[in-house]
Amino acid sequence: MDLRPAEVTSILEQEIASYGGASKMQSVGTVLSVGDGVARVYGLDDCMMNELLEFPGGVRGVALNLEEDNVGCVLLGDASKVREGDTVKSTGRIISVPTGPALLGRVVNALGDPLDGKGPLGAGADDLRPIEQPAPSVVERQPVTEPLQTGIKAIDAMIPIGRGQRELIIGDRQTGKSALLIDTILSQKTTGGGDPTNKDQVICIYVAMGQKQSTVVDIVRRLEEQGAMSYSIVVSASAMDEASMQYLAAYAGCAMGERFRDEGRHVVIMYDDLYKQALAYRQVMLLLRRPPGREAFPGDVFNLHSRLLERAAKLADNAPEINSRFAAGGGSLTALPVVETQEGDVAAYIPTNVISITDGQIFLEANLFNSGVRPAVNAGISVSRVGGAAQIPPMKKNAGSLRLDLAQFRELQAFAQFGSDLDSATQAKLTRGERLVEILKQGQYVPVPVAEQVMIIYAGTSGGLDDLPASRVAEFEQAFIEYVNERHPEVAEAIAGAAKDIPDETKAVLDQAITTVKAGMLAG
């Protein structure tokens, strides 16, 4: 890090010029007790909720409990430097983080301090935003209409996510929850070529709370390798950090995303994961002696998540006219919270809370994952309550029959296990289902553009693959997409621009391609 003498000189100049000026009366208090990362402070008469406090030795704290004769606060830093009897000063500032383009490509902690060793952020005092902000009101929003393409066939086809939606990703450990998020980030590169200054580029914010540091390092490295860090911000509060940092990281990340949303940009923020965040919050609140409720979580653990997720929104086009805090209208903040379940128990306290807050959920199942269906999305119980309006028309048309075919397949599959004598109609449904399941399988880190998704789903639902062995579907898919993109590059455009279903002439091209590629495979 290079220190610039000119900057230091200008600060000194200001200091000298204002030296003789009147000092302000500051509110102070005395530390009554300190331990486990929380302190109780006597005094601090006009302390505000969430105000930053200054302890001796440069340690900072946040006031969370304002009581009759003392203030309970969490320490954000080395608590061993704070002693009983120390003088605490109030700062008059609500806890804030730097926001804006300077953060893109960076890894920061819950206070916005860089963690990646790439030097200072270069964000100014104007870029500071309080981490707790009210969510946009009813009139400042508009319905979700644009798709957020995750690049994952199973999701974009059956559980579509719209920009401004909140879609929960839920599943046991090791079911591919984080992998799904990374694929989504990689897929956003297609929106603006990975250029963060491009207005169409979707900004991605990944908030890691209570994760292993090695996991965070892996994710950052993967994003860098694939050129996805240029439009991403990683907020990390790993398992090693103080519980207070872990629970504040979600709000800090949200404040960073809101800055872009309010400037008319599109943002997707991923909270990985809210269960660990609730655990961190529980720890802090129990130490502050707030009364415990169910599973020892404090009473406001629902509000902890609802006020966070409520900040995801699709802003109205005329939002700046209604409220001057918005610099531009039409921006969106999509939230993809993750909740880890224990032994598939989605009826536990935190999962049911977050399920009820969000606009749908994607269930990932350990059974599916282990039987090789990856991504392990359980299409039967996963839903998206608003995303349907956000699908491109040809996808909507084709995915409808996909959902139906798969539902029938699942029903018959259980039934077919009992007997071998099946009528031909049932046999046909089973054959179709097996191939559709194969189509929806997808490797990690290979997001599929939406037009290609429509092509292969059309091939499956039109029955073109029924005479191909299920084990060769993946092979077919690759050859088919290659063939179409090479011989008929106009197909992708025709699909993306279609106002309703795939145009008939394009369908003819696809049918012909299916036959040709299949013939080539069966011959060879």
Partner: protein
Amino acid sequence: MIVDPVSTRYAGALFGLAQRTGVLDAVGRDVEQLGLQMASPGVRDFLCGSQASLAERRAGLDKLSADYHALTKNLLSLLLDKRREAVLVGLPDAFAQRRLQEQGAVEGEVAAARPLDAADLDALAASLGKLLGKQVLLKSRLAPDLLAGVQVTVDNRMLDTSVRGRLEGLRRKLLDAPLPASGA
């Protein structure tokens, strides 16, 4: 002065009663005396600890308050009955604060790098009094580590004009200064 809310309530009750019956000075002296006695760890541990039985503690308290006014004695017995021995420690401070409040005054402390003379202290108290709208009673304390200037603490508010405070402020500003990103 850290005063807990329970002591404040008991002190308020005692003060009001004493004021109405016109024995404020006598009760005030008693409470001051109590403060001096409670300052001894032996007395404090005996009365507030759990080693002595209630009867022993009551006898001890009676002996200690033999020449107190009847009102003060009543309060001490009440505290023991209600198991509020901790208030015995907090009461003198709480009572003193209540008396100051009645007079429209606040206590404060001045920490200075060099000894302050009476004129300086009076001038400081007068200007602070104008600022806060209350009479300010200042105690002075010598704190050479401030280097120069004074640090006044009144009523949970601090006015820091010391050189050390300013140096710390400068240090913080330098650390927080938005430096340009490297390579920019």
